[in-house]
């Protein structure tokens, strides 16, 4: 399938999966408002949302299988990278809704509308993965973020949630302003917001040392840095993640981050790969700061949701290493990484959601002590997820290979990132301090008196079992996923492409 993006019909065909999700989400909005707010109604809307996500995923798979492409580089990309990232976003949204359906009596936040907001946020992420124009990047980021701001504030009875959501909203608006200013400066210097044209202009007129673009890139980096919670733009993340309900925290830590990274990678590789002199040093330092600071603060956390928040900051640092590599190997490492990271986080948050108690901000480390003796499968599942986040071979499943490919991309990168790879390995060793501490608490301590052993509801169980099974399966047979990631990594660097090349 080849789409001519200059024609409305071609454009319509190229965004069909997004359209399915948008129209479906609108229909579900009506359905959600149709009946009074009850738990049964919330469940039926949530199930309908899961079917809608499955339908959208089917459309994405169909497009990917048929090798859909664009006749000429246009305002959106029609390529494997987009479909691959879309599938991760859709899976994350589905896991969020599945966990959300059952967290109602506990977190008191889930209404039928919250499922709709998750869907609309996923639309924003799909737009981000497709965006080939800075304007579309901005619209995608805003669509994704605004829905998530509201999701973070859903629990109106919690002062902490309101505080966290307000912080998130204000800093997010601040980040958007930086992003817009960066876009304006890049536009001012190159006369276009289209990624391909920007790259082409930089190459043709030799603008690599251009001050205006360099300042623009710095602003873009600040904006994206806020969205992916990279140090020093991470201040909002722990408070917001701790206060939000567990499914929403998982969604923010996984999907929002992956969405922002997908756009960041495309912008960096498709239009700014010639400008690496301007962005390499800032990205390098942000990655180092994120890995070091995130890991050190995570060591002292007691609340598991807050700990996982710092862990997600740390993983943003690892992903920045893949961005700094700036090659297609980095892009494929990114795809592999977000799959493993999504699985490990949703597995972990399924357990956190199951162990959470009403009126608290989620379980602390003592709540996990001795879990092995009362809920052995829960302990094993959570343990595998922790080891995957740590990147341990075999027991950590896909997590090891995810880090391995990022390291490989860093070492083979023309930017000479060996030192960055060494720092990645060293900080991973530090992260064992908190990941293994949780594992030790579960397996080697007695269960405290009076500790609750809540039953795990069915959807949560499905999310946990699927995540852990996939993690272990990919860990044993990483070849298939690695091939898939490599095949879909072809985000062409701007230098290697003629502006009038047909397709890709």
């Amino acid at each position: 399938m080849t789409f001519d993006l200059a024609l409305p019909s071609g454009l319509l065909g190229a965004v069909a999966p997004e359209l399915i999700l948008i129209v479906g989400a609108m229909a579900l909005t009506l359905l959600a408002a149709w009946r009074p707010e009850t738990d049964a109604h919330q469940r039926s809307v949530g199930k309908a949302a899961l079917w809608l996500l499955a339908l959208t995923a089917a459309a994405v798979v169909m497009y990917a299988a048929r090798g859909a492409s664009a006749a000429a580089p246009g305002i959106i990309a029609v390529d494997g990278f987009r479909w691959a990232a879309d599938l991760v976003f859709l899976a994350a949204a589905a896991a969020t809704i599945a966990l959300g359906i059952e967290s109602n009596p506990k977190d008191r936040f889930v209404t039928a509308e919250s499922h709709v907001l998750v869907l609309l946020s996923a639309v924003g992420m799909m737009i981000l993965a497709a965006a080939r124009d800075l304007m579309i990047v901005f619209l995608g980021i805003e669509t994704m973020s605004i829905a998530v701001y509201v999701l973070a504030a859903m629990d109106r009875r919690s002062v902490r949630a309101a505080e966290g959501a307000l912080k998130y909203f204000l800093l997010g608006a601040f980040a958007s302003a930086f992003l817009l200013y960066g876009i304006a400066l890049v536009y001012g210097a190159t006369g276009s917001t289209n990624l391909a044209v920007i790259g082409e202009t930089i190459a043709r007129f030799g603008l690599t040392g251009h001050t205006m673009i360099s300042i623009g890139i710095a602003m873009l980096l600040v904006g994206f840095g806020f969205k992916v919670a990279a140090v020093p733009f991470h201040m909002w993340a722990p408070d917001v993640y701790e206060a939000a309900p567990a499914p929403i925290t998982a969604f923010m830590a996984v999907a929002v981050k992956a969405g922002a990274f997908a756009a960041l990678l495309r912008v960096w590789i498709e239009s700014l790969s010639m400008m690496d002199a301007a962005w390499l040093a800032p990205v390098w330092w942000v990655a180092v700061a994120t890995m070091v600071v995130g890991n050190l603060i995570a060591l002292s956390q007691r609340n598991v949701k807050r700990l996982l928040a710092y862990s997600s900051i740390v993983h943003a640092g690892y992903l920045l290493v893949a961005v700094a590599a700036g090659t297609s190997l980095g892009t494929s490492a990114f795809l592999f990484y977000i799959v493993a990271y999504t699985l490990a986080n949703f597995g972990a948050f399924a357990v956190v959601a199951a162990l959470g108690e009403p009126g608290t901000t989620g379980p602390a480390i003592p709540d996990f002590e001795g879990l092995w003796s009362t809920r052995p499968w829960l302990a094993v599942g959570f343990g595998v997820c922790m080891l995957a986040l740590l990147g341990l071979p075999v027991f950590g499943g896909a997590g090891f290979f995810a880090k391995w490919y990022v390291l490989q991309a860093a070492v083979t990168s023309p930017h000479g990132l060996v030192l960055l790879a060494v720092i990645l390995v060293l900080t991973s060793v530090v992260s064992a301090g908190y990941y293994l501490d949780l594992v030790r608490a579960m397996f080697m301590r007695p269960r405290p008196e009076g500790a609750r052993n809540p039953a795990v509801p069915p959807y949560t169980r499905v999310v946990l079992v699927t995540s852990v099974a996939l993690l272990l399966a990919i860990g044993l047979f990483p070849g298939a996923l690695a091939t898939w990631a490599r095949k879909n990594a072809a985000v062409t660097p701007s230098a290697a492409r003629s502006p009038f090349a047909q397709g890709r």
């Binding site: 209404t111 609309l120 737009i127 669509t143 509201v150 007129f205 251009h210």
Partner: protein, 185 residues
Amino acid sequence: MNEFYPLVYTFHFYLFGLVALAAAIVFVTRKSPVAAALWLVVVMTSLAALYVMLDAEFVAVIQVLVYAGAIMVVFLFIVMLLNLGTLSELGEIRGKWGRIAAALVGLALVAELAALSRAAYSLRVTVPARSGPEAIAETGGVIGSIAAPMFRDYLLAFELTSVLLLVAIIGSVVLARKRSEHDAG
């Protein structure tokens, strides 16, 4: 067009420009949100006058209708709903360090813009060779030259903006309704 036209034009440019600048400074220094909002209306209207002088009447009308009209009304509504009009301690959130930081950022911005405009950059923006009413009419008039990119080149962006606004509307309704329900229960 008489011989005084350039002089009259320059006079009006500086008149509206200075009014806009002065009103903007007054706007950010007011403590009462209502007074600040009203000064913002003055800024918007002066800018609309500048747009008219640039032969962009449509943009000027939209500026008055949307910014000076609709958005300011919503702004005042929110101020009244939240009852911010009577709070005099609002000014105290801007402490000494906040002011200094803001001044530094502002100075950095001015310095940057000055440096960028002074340096001889070969801008890639396609500036039309001719300007004025005739050139605008050739490209489809004031409305046509806005409509063509909006509904042709950036059709997708335009439609996505409506999705973005829909998300914002759903979000605000969800949050507002939750609170009233909580107050009742």
